[in-house]
Structure formats: structure tokens, C-alpha cells
């Protein structure tokens, strides 16, 4: 097997979710004997910065590219350029409006958030006020998770009222402050959904600082969130399988380079975990630190 | 020519020989030399840009010399920084005020030497120390006042107080009296005489010839960065010193004042008011007339000028230009009505220091050089600038030299050129010759006369009575914001001083600061 050079251009870099994707990719690289680079913009709004990264990756002439598009359309010209150069593209995390990517390794964020809504509905007994602290107002994952959650609440839980949806940019401190304001403005609030790791931890922090007993549902994992779930501060959280996403993206790229057929979508799945089930081997495998 | 006495002279404090110093594009000093004895006041003279300030900046560690030798107290010395100069007992009052505007007077004076108790600043002692120095200078000034709120004259006094506080063996004064009135100058001279008696050597730079005669023992003259000679002050006639400075004989014949009494009135001011600074000031200036505006420091002359010019808000009063009542609420309005104002603080208000000479001269007249699509007529601007560089003998390598690199006097000329180019009918000159050498001064006098002869109405604000008397057809005198009288041209200094000190009986002496 050749030492393929695979460039992954992701949606982010510093966040634990993306670091877990990177860890999966690195693991696959080690297992399959290829080399992998991984980078992503500061924030999920910087669509053009991601284009510059993709352009630089193309200039490097890698054997394959893994790409998690911040905007499903903006990258199409560059993808066509890659296609023309014969570089196979694997999409990950979310899809691209194009048939150029050979496959997409992804989580169905809307469905995952709908699961969070169901859990929330169950935990607060199907009625009362809740709020959402989202990580982003315009990015694909931000929109999908917010709307997936809100739509499910609207259609299945008529007695639940969403009193506030605010955005903390995934910044823990900002999300903490937002949560405290929401709790103070709505003393009878029953639950809050935090749509990614930073948001969820921020929500739990805010709850703790005010000594509230609001139900917190989080998203993603990471050491802090895991311990919050363990301690009951957070009722539970949805996790995707970021390590799996990273691993399968690289695996798919290598398969494509070796001329193998790929399915159009690789569903990497999502799970709800709480203090009871998080030690199950099946769940523990998809949680990351 | 070097003034050497036959008796056993005391050994000099400072000996500088063969000093060279170049700046990019300018040779400021070439083989300059200077000697200072203990207990003498040694005047350093020369035209604007002769290199006086530069030589003294080398002595006080601000600049490093390119070549030459320096001896201090009989031994070769190197002065690498202002700190080393201080430590070596050299104090300096810089020509361009070097004060920290956001600190108080006392804080400025003791900067770097703040009295402390247990590492904590002792503000009480600081203020008492400053107050003591002010008292020794007979200066009424609150040590806790912010320097920013002081007039230039008061700032100059603070600068002098600061230099005195170092108790230096060598004290350099670079045009210390440029902003001072006669009383303050007398006070300064008393201080100088005291220091002299203590054996302090004083370097005294000034463009005011009478001062040189009054206090200096010897005079060293420089020209174009070179040493010309050193002469004893008492025995040498002023004409000789001047011809050493300018390299030729200067003629400054007294001016024949033409009668302007029936020329039409160009500017009329009625009951101008602004707080306590300006109270019910009314006067008029005719075409072709030079009106001197005299008064002590803080009399409100600058305030009047700025109020007429629209630079500050007025609280009342009418302004008539050529008989028409006009509305002036901004300098732009004033300039449109043909009024130009040359401010007393050129660095702060006159020059765009980052721009070159050409653009500073053209600044008020850019509209005239603006062609279609806003494109500027550079050759036209250059021609205009060159014309004034020649006419006013502005010393600059070219019209593209940055204005901030010119010597003080030449900067002043650039500002004058700006208003000449703008071709205003009514010109207000606020201290037009501050820091300007004799040669240039007489040129500016001639220029003002010529402008008046052309029919321009001119107001000259000056703290130098000889200058006021030399130039004015009539002299308006102010005291504490009021116009106390208007005198005819030939009046005596005593008449002016009487009006300048004619305080309102009901009004107390205003507290300093």
C-alpha cells in the first residue's frame, strides 16, 4: 500500500468535537499507513477562510481530500477544480450540494436534536417552559440542531413553550452568562438544551452558579461534559461519533484511492447518553475526552 | 576673535571643538565650537537654522555628535543621554516646550525625582517643593494645575522652574523668553544673576538683541552650522554682532507710517464677549492699517483673535467686514470673508507637521489648485511654494522637505506663507516673530508694511512693545479681557503699560491657574 497524502479540511479546529474527529483521522492514518493533515477555521462563520484552506490544500496536490463544508454551495468551484485534477473528495460531517464527493460520512444533526427534544419532553413531563442555548445562528450544524429540536417540540409537545433561543458562539463563558440571564428572567424554567459542547457546558455552569435545578440536555461529549452527566448536573446529552467520522473519512478516502466502491452516505450515528448508560461498551466507545 | 582675557581665567566648564552633526539631507553643524566659563552668561546667537539648538542638544545628551571633542569641567566627556547630562550637572530649557500636558505643574517639575515615602509618592512635598520654586521666581502659579490648561507663557515658566530645580552647574536656556512679557523677563534675569553669582555657567540663546546686551558677558555667533566668533558683549556694538550673524550689514530703517485715517474700514468688532476672557471688546481696522494689539500675558488678545476668526465660540458681539455684518462661526467662515489668522502656537495650531513645506503653504488655498475631478495642480502649487520660499527666505532644502524638520523660525515663515498665498484682506498675526531671528524679523516687518501698503488690514498681537511700536499705526491695549484704550502710533511704552495694567477697580487680581 502506498503512503497516501490525505488533506482534511474541517469546519473547526480547536473545539473538542473537531479534535475528536482529528483523533479518529489520525488513528485511521496510523492503521492504514497513510499521512493525514487536518485544519479548520476559527469559527463556523468563516466560509471564505475555509475556501482559502481548501485552495491551499489543492495546491499541495494531495492524493485525496476530506472536506466538511461550512456552506454547501460556496466550495463547488474548488471541488470542481479538485475533480478535474483527479483528486477524490470525501465529504464529512455534513454534505455538499454536489455529486463530486464520493461519499459523505455524517451525523443527521436534525434527527439527533429531535432525539434531544424527546428526552427533554419526557424528563419535564411534557409541559412547561424551556430554552435553547445554541452555538451558532447561521452555520449548518447550528441551524439543524436548533430547528431539529424546535420542530420536534412544536409537533410533539404542544404544552411545552420555548421561551428563549440565544446564541453563545460555543464560548463556554458567554453561554454561562446567557444561561444565567435566561434562568433569572424565567424562574419557572424547566429545561435548557445546549446545542454543542461549549454551549452545553456553559448551560450546566450557569445552572450550577445559580443553584438551579433546571433539566439540562447537552450535545457532544468531552471530559467535562461526561463528568457533568455523571454527577447529574446535566441530565444527559446526545453524542455523535466524531472519532468514527474522522476514522471513516480517512478509510473511505483510502478505499477510493484503491478503486473500491463506496456507499453514497456513511451514517456515523448518534446516541443519547446519561449517567446510567454511559458505561455501556457501545456508548463508551463513541464518547471522547 | 576668541575672547580670551589675559588674567588667570577660571578653567572652563564646557569646551566643545570641531563638532559636526548631520541629519538626513541637512548638515546642521560643521566644525562648531563653544566654550563656557563658570559664572558667565554666554549668549549663543545666529539666524534661524544656524544650529544653536542642535549644538546644545549635543551638549545635553539628546543628540550624539558625528565628530569633534567635548570637555566637561576640564576632562574629556561623553554624554550619551539626557540622564547622563543631568548627572553631569547640565540642565536645559528646550526651545520647543517639553512638558507633559496631562500632568500638573509640580509633577512636571519633579518628573523622575518624585519625593517618596515608603515608595509612595509624597504629593504634599512635591507641591510644596514646586511652590517654593515658584515663590523664588516670584511666580503666582498653583503647583497642582494641569499644564494643559496653562498659556504658553505659563508653560514656559514651568519649564524654567523645572530647569532651576535641578541646580545644575551648566544651565542652557534655548529661547526662554520667547513667550514672556517684560515683567517675567525681568524676573528671569534676576534669577540668572543669582545663579551667576553662585558660579553657574549659563548658555543663553535668544533672538532679542536687547536681552543679549542686558545680561550676557560674552557672545558666540554661529552661521550655517559653523563657528563665526566669540566677542565680549559689553564692548561689541549690536550692529557688529548682527553682521557676524547674517554675514552682511542689515538696514532696518524706521518705517514711514502713511496716514490711513480716511481709508475705508475693513474689519469692525462690536461688543465681543466670551466669558471672563473677553468683555465688551470693540475696535476697527482700516484698509492699509496695522493695528497693534498689546497687553500683558493672559490679557485676552489671543482669545479675541480666535473669537473673530471663529476658532472659538463667541457669546456675543457683531463682526463687520467691509461694512457688512457677517456670520462667523467657524474658521472656514472667517477665511471665506477674507480673514486669515496666524496662531501663536505654530506647532499645535499652525503646521501640519507631517506634510511637506509645499503642502503646508498651499493648505489654505487647495481649492484654488483643484482642477476637474478634484485633481491637484502640483506644478502650480510648487511654483507658489517656491515663490514664497524665495520671498520669505525660508531655509529648506526644497519645497518637499517635511515641515517638522525645519527650524522653529522657518516653520513660522511657512505659516506666514500659507496666509499670504491665501491672499486674505484682513490678517491677524498672533506673535508673528516669536522665535524668529533679527534678519528674518526685519524681513517680516517689511513684509507686514508691504502688505499694509497693498491695502490689507492687519492686526498684530505682540508681547514685545518695541515691535508693536515699530509696526503699528494705532495700538489697542487690553487688560483682563477688556479693551482699555486705543493709542496713536507714536505713543510711548509708558502709555501702553499704563493701559495694560488698568485693572477694573472692582475686580480682584485673578488667581493664577
Amino acid at each position: 500500500q502506498e503512503n497516501y497524502d490525505i488533506a482534511l479540511v474541517s469546519k473547526g479546529f480547536q473545539h473538542q468535537f473537531w479534535q475528536a474527529v482529528k483523533a479518529g483521522a489520525d488513528q485511521a492514518a496510523a492503521d492504514l499507513g497513510v499521512s493525514v493533515t487536518f485544519e479548520g477555521p476559527e469559527s463556523e462563520t468563516q466560509v471564505d477562510r475555509q475556501m482559502d484552506m481548501l485552495a491551499a490544500a489543492l495546491s499541495r496536490q494531495p492524493d485525496a481530500i476530506g472536506f466538511a463544508a461550512l456552506d454547501s454551495q460556496a466550495a463547488i468551484p474548488l471541488l470542481q477544480q479538485a475533480d478535474a485534477a483527479g483528486i477524490p473528495i470525501i465529504a464529512f460531517d455534513s454534505g455538499v450540494d454536489s455529486d463530486i464527493p464520493l461519499t459523505t460520512a455524517t451525523t443527521d444533526n436534525a434527527a439527533a436534536a429531535a432525539l434531544a427534544a424527546d428526552v427533554m419532553g419526557e424528563l419535564i413531563g411534557g409541559e412547561g417552559k424551556i430554552a435553547v442555548v445554541a452555538h451558532d445562528q447561521t452555520s449548518r450544524t447550528g441551524i439543524d440542531r436548533r430547528d431539529g429540536f424546535l420542530n420536534r417540540i412544536a409537533e410533539a409537545y404542544p404544552n411545552i413553550e420555548v421561551v428563549s433561543v440565544q446564541y453563545g458562539g460555543g464560548d463556554q463563558l458567554q453561554s454561562t452568562e446567557i444561561t444565567k440571564s435566561i434562568l433569572l428572567a424565567n424562574p419557572d424554567l424547566k429545561g435548557i438544551f445546549g446545542t454543542n459542547e461549549g454551549s452545553a457546558i456553559g448551560v450546566a455552569n450557569g445552572k450550577q452558579e445559580l443553584g438551579s435545578d433546571v433539566v439540562v440536555i447537552g450535545f457532544d461529549s468531552g471530559a467535562a461534559q461526561k463528568s457533568m452527566v455523571q454527577s447529574g448536573l446535566m441530565a444527559g446529552a446526545i453524542t455523535q461519533n466524531p472519532v468514527g467520522i474522522g476514522y471513516q473519512t480517512v478509510q473511505a478516502a483510502v478505499a477510493a484511492l484503491n478503486g473500491e466502491e463506496l456507499p453514497p452516505v456513511i451514517d456515523t450515528g448518534f446516541y443519547y447518553y446519561n449517567a446510567e448508560n454511559m458505561d455501556n461498551p457501545e456508548i463508551a466507545a463513541v464518547l471522547y475526552d | 576673535m576668541v575672547g580670551e582675557t589675559s588674567d588667570a581665567a577660571p578653567s572652563p566648564l564646557v569646551v566643545m571643538r570641531g563638532i559636526d552633526k548631520s541629519f538626513p539631507g541637512v548638515r546642521a553643524l560643521s566644525q562648531a565650537q563653544f566654550e563656557l566659563l563658570p559664572g558667565e552668561v554666554h549668549a549663543l546667537m545666529g539666524e534661524n537654522g544656524a544650529g544653536k539648538s542642535t549644538l546644545m542638544k549635543i551638549l545635553s545628551g539628546v543628540y550624539q555628535r558625528d565628530a569633534g571633542s567635548l570637555e566637561l569641567y576640564g576632562r574629556p566627556a561623553e554624554i550619551a543621554s539626557p540622564r547622563e547630562a543631568q548627572d553631569a550637572g547640565i540642565g536645559i530649557i528646550h526651545q520647543e516646550l517639553a512638558l507633559m500636558r496631562d500632568l500638573t505643574a509640580a509633577q512636571n517639575i519633579f518628573i523622575g525625582r518624585e519625593p517618596r515615602r515608603f515608595g509612595i509618592l509624597d504629593e504634599g512635598r512635591l507641591n510644596r517643593g514646586a511652590a517654593a520654586i515658584f515663590r523664588s521666581m516670584n511666580l503666582k502659579l498653583d503647583p497642582t494645575v494641569l499644564v494643559e490648561t496653562l498659556t504658553i507663557a505659563k508653560q514656559q515658566m514651568v519649564e524654567i522652574a523645572k530647569a532651576l530645580s535641578y541646580r545644575s552647574r551648566v544651565l542652557i536656556m534655548d529661547e526662554p523668553t520667547a513667550a514672556l512679557n517684560d515683567a517675567e523677563i525681568a524676573e528671569l534675569f534676576a534669577i540668572i544673576n543669582r545663579l551667576k553669582a553662585e558660579g553657574v555657567g549659563i548658555v543663553y540663546i535668544s533672538h532679542k538683541m536687547d536681552e543679549i546686551k542686558r545680561i550676557s558677558d560674552r557672545v558666540t555667533v554661529m552661521r550655517d552650522g559653523e563657528y563665526v566668533g566669540t566677542v565680549p558683549a559689553a564692548e561689541t556694538p549690536i550692529e557688529t554682532i548682527i553682521s557676524m550673524m547674517v554675514g552682511r550689514k542689515l538696514t532696518d530703517e524706521a518705517l514711514a507710517i502713511p496716514d490711513t485715517a480716511d481709508a475705508p474700514i475693513a474689519l469692525e468688532v462690536h461688543n465681543l464677549n466670551r466669558g471672563r476672557e473677553i468683555r465688551e471688546v470693540s475696535f476697527s481696522v482700516r484698509q492699509g492699517e496695522i493695528l497693534g494689539l498689546a497687553g500683558l500675558m493672559g490679557a485676552g488678545r489671543t482669545e479675541v483673535a480666535r473669537a473673530i476668526f471663529g476658532a472659538d465660540r463667541r457669546e456675543g458681539g457683531d463682526i463687520l467686514v467691509h461694512g457688512q455684518r457677517v456670520r462667523i462661526v467657524s474658521p472656514r467662515d472667517a477665511v471665506e470673508k477674507g480673514i486669515g489668522y496666524l496662531s501663536e502656537d505654530r506647532k499645535l495650531f499652525g503646521l501640519a507637521t507631517g506634510l511637506d513645506v509645499r503642502n503646508n503653504i498651499a493648505l489654505a488655498s487647495l481649492e484654488r489648485f483643484t482642477g476637474p475631478m478634484g485633481v491637484l495642480d502640483e506644478p502650480g502649487m510648487q511654483a507658489a511654494a517656491d515663490r514664497y520660499i524665495r520671498q520669505l527666505a525660508i531655509k529648506t532644502p526644497s519645497d518637499t522637505q517635511e515641515a517638522r524638520l525645519l527650524s522653529g523660525g522657518n516653520q513660522q515663515k511657512v505659516v506666514i506663507a500659507k496666509w499670504l498665498l491665501r491672499n486674505c484682506d484682513i490678517l491677524i498675526f498672533d506673535e508673528p516673530t516669536r522665535g524668529i531671528d533679527v534678519g528674518a524679523k526685519s524681513e517680516i516687518y517689511k513684509l507686514l508694511n508691504a502688505l499694509a501698503a497693498e491695502g490689507k488690514a492687519i492686526i498684530v498681537i505682540s508681547s514685545e512693545l518695541p515691535e508693536i511700536l515699530r509696526l503699528s499705526h494705532r495700538i489697542a491695549v487690553m487688560c483682563e479681557g477688556r479693551l482699555t484704550g486705543i493709542l496713536p502710533g507714536g505713543s510711548s511704552q509708558e502709555d501702553i503699560m499704563r493701559l495694560a495694567t488698568m485693572r477694573e477697580p472692582a475686580m480682584e487680581v485673578r488667581r493664577a491657574g
Binding site: 463556554q172 440571564s181 | 539628546v62 510644596r128 517654593a132
Partner: protein, 331 residues
């Protein structure tokens, strides 16, 4: 030796000064009144504590920025430096397992060292503060990620670390006033900095530098040394901010910090400190930081849509400064 008239005049000036500062509260007060009327939840002890706590990190950063801005400089690195110091504390406490005081010391030393580097680059290499601290901002951001291994470092093994900011010594004594320690630390830093600025040579030179650096140099003062000292002290204060945020999040988050500099500088300028240097007060900065937090909190309490929150915040920042300008013009 005493001049009889001087003290009287001085106290006169002090009174107008104090009056002026009192008025500076007016913008803050106006906001508080408006929000109190608009929502019954605003004027609750809990919420006021939340606002104060929310001010603590930005307030401390803004105080650091105040020092630098008074010298006529600017510090864009305060946010990422805060993070860097938090990461250093994490390394010392969690990775190396040292006792808590050492971690605190390490964070503050890291801040000081970084401030020193900025100061040297600015004073000795004559790189403009904007660029020097922009570079430091990036360098520190990268180093935080490198040192932490791009992972948050948790302080679970250092019991009591969260108490640093979240505990309440006051609350233990006066249960009705559970003021979090983080707020106390903010006030302590403010008092200390105000003292340094007003009463020590360092403070005097800070104002002098911003007023006229050339004049300070001509006065024979070692300008470079004092400038470096100011940046170092500002760095140390960022170290405190790093500890506050780490304690509050019980973790050092290596990716956080960029963007915080703008909030800090905004607080400084809203507080009346001039970006051209020479003047400024710690009290003003505190008020500026409070205005920012009250605004954020109040708008959230009122459930204003977030995009409109941004618009309102921008408008009020401009109006607050404009009101301050009008007020000064009148005085």
C-alpha cells in the same frame, strides 16, 4: 514651606473631579433604571450578582488594558494572554500536580513574562504597540493550544480551585450577600491598580509616557524601562484574569480568548480613558465594564432577539460615549 492657597485650590479641583466621576455613573444608572422598569427580574439580588460575576473577567482585563492605554499604547493580547495563563495554571496544577499557590504564582508569572516580552518588543525594537500585541495575541493563542495539547485542562484534582472565583467569603460571613470571590478579586485588582496609578512612581510615569514620551525622555528618565514595566504589570493582571476564568470554568479552555480584547478596550474607552493616552481612571474602566455587562444581561432578561441585541449594544456604546462627551463639554 507650605503655600497657604494651594491646598484649598486643590480640594476645589478634587470636588469637581469627584462630581465629574459621579456623573460618569449616569449612563450606567440610566441603563439600570430602564431595565429595572422593563423587567421585575432585573433588580433581583441573584441577577445583580450574576451581572457582577459576568463583569469580573472582562473588568480585570479592562484594567490591564487601561494601564497600557494610558501610556498611549494598546494591548490586543489581553484575551489570549488570559487563556495562556489559565493553561499554564492547568499545566502546573493538573499535569504536574503541584499545590494551588504554585499554580496561582505560575499563572501570574506567565502573564508578567509575556507582558515583559511585549514591552521589550515595543520599547526596545520600537515596534508599534498595535503590531507587537497583535503578534503576541497570535503567538499566545498558538502556544496555548500547543502547551495544552489542544485539549481543555480540568482542575478536578485541585479541590478549592473553583472556590477562587465562585466561592464566597463574604457570603460565609453575611449570608444575605453571597458576593462571589471573583467580584472581590476584581475590586481588589481595581483598588490596587488605582493605588499604583495614583500613588507610585510607576503610575506617574504611566501618565507621563502617554502625555509626552519625548518630554519624559528629555527629563532623563529611562523611558524603555518604565514602559516595559507597565506592560509587565498589565500582563500580571491578565494572569489574574486567567485564574478567574479558569476557576469559573473549572478548566483552562485553550481555544478561548480571542475577541475578548475588544470588549476590554471598549470598557476602557466607555470609561472615559482616551486612546491617545495621558488620561484615564480605573473607576471609569469599572463603570465601562459594568455598562457592557448590564447591557448584555438586561437585553437577555428582556429576551430581545440576539441580532437586535447586537444592534442595541452597538448603538448604546456610541451613545454612552457621546453622552460623556456632551457632559464634559458642559463642565
Amino acid at each position: 514651606m507650605t503655600d497657604a492657597t494651594a491646598p484649598a485650590q486643590k480640594s476645589g479641583i478634587r470636588i469637581t473631579g469627584a462630581f465629574h466621576r459621579l456623573l460618569a455613573f449616569s449612563g450606567l444608572l440610566a441603563l439600570v433604571v430602564v431595565f429595572s422598569l422593563a423587567s421585575p427580574n432585573f433588580m433581583q439580588t441573584q441577577n445583580i450578582l450574576a451581572i457582577l460575576q459576568a463583569t469580573s473577567v472582562n473588568g480585570v482585563l479592562a484594567i490591564a488594558a487601561t494601564l497600557v492605554i494610558i501610556t498611549g499604547g494598546i494591548d490586543l493580547s489581553v484575551g489570549t494572554l488570559m487563556t495562556f495563563c489559565a493553561v499554564i495554571a492547568g499545566v502546573v496544577l493538573t499535569y504536574w500536580g503541584m499545590p494551588m499557590p504554585l499554580g496561582i504564582l505560575a499563572a501570574i508569572l506567565a502573564g508578567t513574562a509575556s507582558g515583559l516580552v511585549s514591552g521589550v518588543v515595543i520599547a526596545k525594537l520600537k515596534v508599534p504597540p498595535f503590531i507587537a500585541t497583535l503578534g503576541m495575541m497570535l503567538i499566545l493563542k498558538g502556544l496555548s493550544l500547543v502547551i495544552s495539547g489542544t485539549r481543555p485542562i480540568y482542575f478536578n484534582d485541585t479541590p478549592g480551585f473553583t472556590q477562587l472565583s465562585q466561592g464566597s467569603i463574604v457570603g460565609a460571613l453575611v449570608p444575605a450577600m453571597p458576593i462571589p470571590n471573583g467580584v472581590l478579586i476584581l475590586f481588589a485588582v481595581a483598588l490596587l491598580t488605582a493605588f499604583v496609578l495614583g500613588k507610585t512612581a510607576l503610575g506617574r510615569y504611566t501618565f507621563a509616557l502617554g502625555s509626552n514620551e519625548e518630554a519624559v525622555r528629555l527629563s532623563g528618565i529611562n523611558v524603555d524601562r518604565w514602559k516595559i514595566a507597565v506592560y509587565a504589570v498589565a500582563g500580571a493582571i491578565c494572569g489574574v484574569a486567567g485564574l478567574l476564568i479558569a476557576s469559573r470554568l473549572n478548566s483552562a479552555q485553550p481555544a478561548l480568548g480571542q475577541g475578548y480584547e475588544l470588549d476590554a478596550i471598549a470598557a476602557v474607552v466607555i470609561g472615559g480613558t482616551s486612546l491617545s493616552g495621558g488620561r484615564g481612571t480605573v473607576l471609569g474602566t469599572l463603570i465601562g465594564a459594568l455598562i457592557i455587562s448590564v447591557l448584555a444581561n438586561g437585553l437577555r432578561i428582556l429576551s430581545v432577539a440576539q441580532e437586535w441585541q447586537t444592534v442595541v449594544t452597538g448603538t448604546i456604546i456610541i451613545l454612552a460615549v457621546y453622552a460623556d462627551i456632551l457632559r464634559r463639554r458642559k463642565l
